[in-house]
Amino acid sequence: MAVNLKRTSAEDSEGGRTSRRRMLGWLTGAGLAGSAGLSAVSNFVFIKPRATYGQPQRFSVGKPEDFPSGTRAILAPRGICIVREGSKLAAISITCTHLGCTVGAADTGFACPCHGSRFDQDGNVTGGPAPRPLPWFQVTLAPNGEIEVDKDIEIAPGSYLTI
């Protein structure tokens, strides 16, 4: 029953040198493993979309007159809240920094319905698991007189656009 399937070492190495057979075996193995790795990587490249179909990150929200002083207007489809105090205007994100739920307006600022994070009027965390305050986005006045918000650019909380 005892069948020795091992090749003798003489076949594998000739005088300490690697034999041609073993060398070819190594090359075949490395080639197959490399190809498998490459195809795995290209699968990831394939499923990572190059173009996304979401909303533009930069958009206009209307004229300054649409937001009279004291306004706290939640623009839910855009994911922002426009705040105006006198001549100062800002856009605060309403996407919870915890896990991405949409926060709602509360008496003291914002509150998240998913995991109970709470924020004050300026988006600072006052309770719950949120790790960061709500970001403020850059607001500019476009040449045609409309307010333009760029969600790609975060600015320091408390920096307003003066109109």
């Binding site: 990831f44 499923i47 990572k48 979309p49 996304t52 179909y53 979401g54 839910a76 489809p77 915890h98 896990l99 991405g100 739920c101 949409t102 709602g104 509360a106 509150a111 998240c112 319905p113 998913c114 995991h115 109970g116 709470r118 719950g128 698991p129 790790p131």
Partner: protein, 427 residues
């Protein structure tokens, strides 16, 4: 030219034998009536050939396994069948998915029943797979030589959860949308690759059409294929690892000392002895050792059939009594308050409400690594095959602590959390 020509059968006789000829061409063996034919069932039937010819009596003890592994598998089969049927009417498009859910309710024959069976079957599978995992742990069945099959089992448990998670989005209702928004955001907290995983899962920066299509493909093609492969490996290894675990004393020990033999000093050196000259008493022990195995036909097969009928009946009864929930269609602007995940993820959600990283990534990863590593860390041979063995007090205590902690978190998340995830009392 054949030497003997068979007697020519009359046409009528052939006609009369026609049905049985076909029957016998499909089933080569008659229903077994003796042990030889009983053992042939496992060899000659495609659907039975996965089974051993004989099975240990311990494996058939209902109170040892509770049939949990089998129930998991049968639930998987029910989910495959109902899932394929539901696919005939489902469209993975944000504009249509919810309407198709309403169609299933209103205009598809048995649509409600099939959706109920699929939903409750999925809940049942998560629960039963987890209980199966508990059974295997608490009986010490992950120990040598079953270490790797335990690892396969843990992977199957994770795949089951991922199946459930991907299926959750498909109805495209409020519950689905916000559970997946939160779930993918948790993935985003994973170190280094988190944001990339989140982006790959959603196919964009938010849950939308791309995410729905991706979850659909994962749910109906990728994950079932992987799950089927892993189940095949799991079953194959049960056989190769020697069947289900059992206590050491379940098998008789053949002691060599007990065999009466002849002392070497009385033997004559020049003489050739046959085996019978060296061993006194009956030559062979066959028939003397108590045999603790029974034929799979009918013992194991009847037990399996019984388990299947009970499983299917339970799912049918639950599906006839309770309708699967369907909330309002997705409103990406207003999360329901409170927004809750399915019950088996509520422990996770409760932990996430303390810390997104530790609750969603840290603690679950530690738990899974401990589970995967259990057979390689806990290598003591004692306590295999017995529920709550004294030998395994430490391992079982640690395991039960984790399980009870998770159950407490699930209960808090289910009953004690109200609007804005504030603590409320249910009474």
């Amino acid at each position: 030219m054949s030497l003997s020509t068979p007697p020519k059968a009359s046409f009528l006789a052939s006609l009369k034998a026609f049905p049985s000829t076909i029957w016998k061409s499909i089933f080569r063996n008659p229903l077994p009536s003796n042990d030889l034919e009983r053992s042939a069932t496992s060899f000659t039937n495609f659907f039975l050939h996965i089974h051993p010819v004989k099975v240990h009596k311990n494996s058939l003890r209902p109170l040892y396994t509770f049939g949990l592994g089998l129930i998991s598998f049968f639930l998987f089969v029910i989910l495959i069948v109902t899932g394929i049927l539901l696919m005939f009417y489902y469209v993975p498009a944000t504009s249509q998915a919810y309407d198709r859910m309403l169609d299933l309710r209103g205009s598809v024959a048995f649509g409600t029943l099939l959706r109920n069976m699929h939903r409750w079957g999925a809940h049942g599978m998560v629960a039963i797979v987890f209980l199966h995992l508990c059974r295997v742990f608490l009986t010490g069945s992950y120990k040598k030589p079953r270490e790797f099959n335990w690892v396969v089992g843990v992977i199957l448990f994770l795949l089951t959860l991922f199946m459930s998670f991907t299926g959750y989005l498909l109805p495209w209702d409020q519950l689905a949308f916000w559970a997946i928004t939160v779930g993918t955001a948790i993935a985003g907290y994973a170190p280094v690759v988190g944001k990339d995983i989140q982006f790959l899962l959603m196919g964009g920066t938010s849950v939308g059409q791309e995410a729905l299509l991706r979850f659909y493909v994962l749910h109906v093609a990728v994950l079932p294929a992987v799950l089927t492969l892993m189940i095949a490996i799991h079953f194959w290894r049960i056989r190769k690892d020697g069947g289900l675990s059992r206590p050491e004393d379940a098998d008789p020990v053949i002691s060599l000392e007990a065999m009466p033999t002849v002392k070497a000093s009385v033997l004559e050196p020049k003489k050739t002895y046959g085996l019978q000259g060296l061993v006194r008493g009956p030559l062979t022990k066959v028939g003397e050792i108590p045999d603790n195995t029974v034929f799979s036909w009918p013992n194991l097969f009847l037990a399996e059939l019984f388990t299947f009928v009970v499983t299917l009946s339970a799912i049918l009864v639950v599906s006839l009594l309770f309708n699967a929930p369907l909330e309002e269609p997705v409103n990406a602007l207003h999360p329901p308050n409170p927004a809750k995940a399915p019950w088996y993820f509520l422990g996770l959600q409760e932990m996430v409400s303390y810390s997104a990283f530790w609750g969603g990534i840290g603690v679950p990863t530690i738990f899974v690594l401990l589970l995967l590593g259990a057979p390689y860390l806990d290598r003591g041979p004692g306590g295999v095959g017995k529920w709550f063995s004294r030998d395994r007090l430490l391992a079982n205590t640690i395991f039960i602590t984790f399980v009870v902690a998770n159950i407490i978190f699930v209960i808090i998340g289910t009953f004690f959390r109200g609007a804005n995830w504030a603590f409320v009392t249910p009474w």
